[in-house]
Symmetry: C3
Subunit: 144 residues, 3 copies
């Protein structure tokens, strides 16, 4: 395969990886979601917050989702405009847009905050894993 063909195969692989990963998140299988990160993986969804290690990511997600204990909601993460840049060290940098679509009882679906996400992905035993993910809400790009 040429380099371009390699990259396009990789591109679909990253999309597929994200789809499996976020379906796990949205069904709140936090252990399985955390297992899509390396053992020492890092996940930041808010400036100033950083979860480290799979156990740390599970703990953070449990804590985060407590806000929904009395607020029944189905959440669906959508990603788009994925850019994949292979790095010198063999990792992949993935940059993409993200939105959450929320459904609550008696209400239509609603958009959550628009975000820009940066992943560093590595291949471990043949499979992609997140070494890190940083999520930045677009509203934080606007002057206060």
């Amino acid at each position: 395969m040429t380099a371009t063909q390699d990259l396009t195969a990789l591109y679909a692989e990253v999309q597929h990886f994200h789809a499996r990963q976020m379906q796990l998140m949205d069904r709140r299988d936090f252990e399985a979601f955390a297992a899509t990160f390396t053992e020492d993986g890092e996940f930041s969804h808010t400036p100033g917050q950083l979860a480290r290690t799979r156990a740390g990511i599970v703990a953070e997600l449990r804590e985060f989702h407590r806000r929904f204990d009395d607020d029944p909601v189905v959440r669906r993460h959508w990603f788009d405009m994925l850019v994949v840049d292979p790095q010198q060290d063999g990792s992949l940098r993935a940059t993409f847009y993200a939105l959450v679509v929320d459904t609550r009882p008696g209400a239509g679906s609603r958009l959550g905050p628009s975000c820009l996400v940066t992943d560093v992905l590595v291949r471990v035993d043949g499979a992609l894993l997140n070494r890190s993910r940083q999520v930045r809400q677009d509203r934080l790009l606007l002057a206060p």
Copy 2:
């Protein structure tokens, strides 16, 4: 090609199949949409409703769209977070998120219900076809 390369090629093929299929639906070419199903294909967009065969799918879609006879609207189906799982029998199971974006006169675009969709796809004469599609609205996952 390796199995991973095969699956990534397949992944883009399913995305492309869905895009062609849903552009047909959104321009209300129901015969062409139904032709993306097998002759005995099954399509359920609502619990308790099930259209069978291409002719049955066309009839169901005509009936469903009557609600728009006095309600001019452009509808666009969006899919995301596609997971493709090859099955033992050679079929493919595709699971993904779906939203409809509606545009009505004098109004901005609006989101319709958020859904989880499960397809069973088979290859007939080299081309993918739906053997079945089941659409489940997220609101039905919430307790009443």
Copy 3:
């Protein structure tokens, strides 16, 4: 590779091209965005408006974005349902859905107009470029 494998590799390549291109647009790097068009490229985002050449596209985008001088907003273009049709002359015709997701201070994210976009893409020195892009808002499909 078979023709189907070629097309699926191409499919991911077009998605990737669009993602890089629109991330440039959304960070308002209009020169870099215009460089994703051929030197004589054509870009129409509104009926009756047509920008020609890279310099013309940059000028049009600067003019268009003046409306945001006193209206701080982060804009994100989302594309979906991409269909890619190779043409006899070696170009590619890409047809897809587009939405803008806007974020303004103190407001949640909001959907802009739903659009159908038609690209003609050509390969120059190995890379895809837009020879043309035509954007049509769905509301214009509705009778006045």
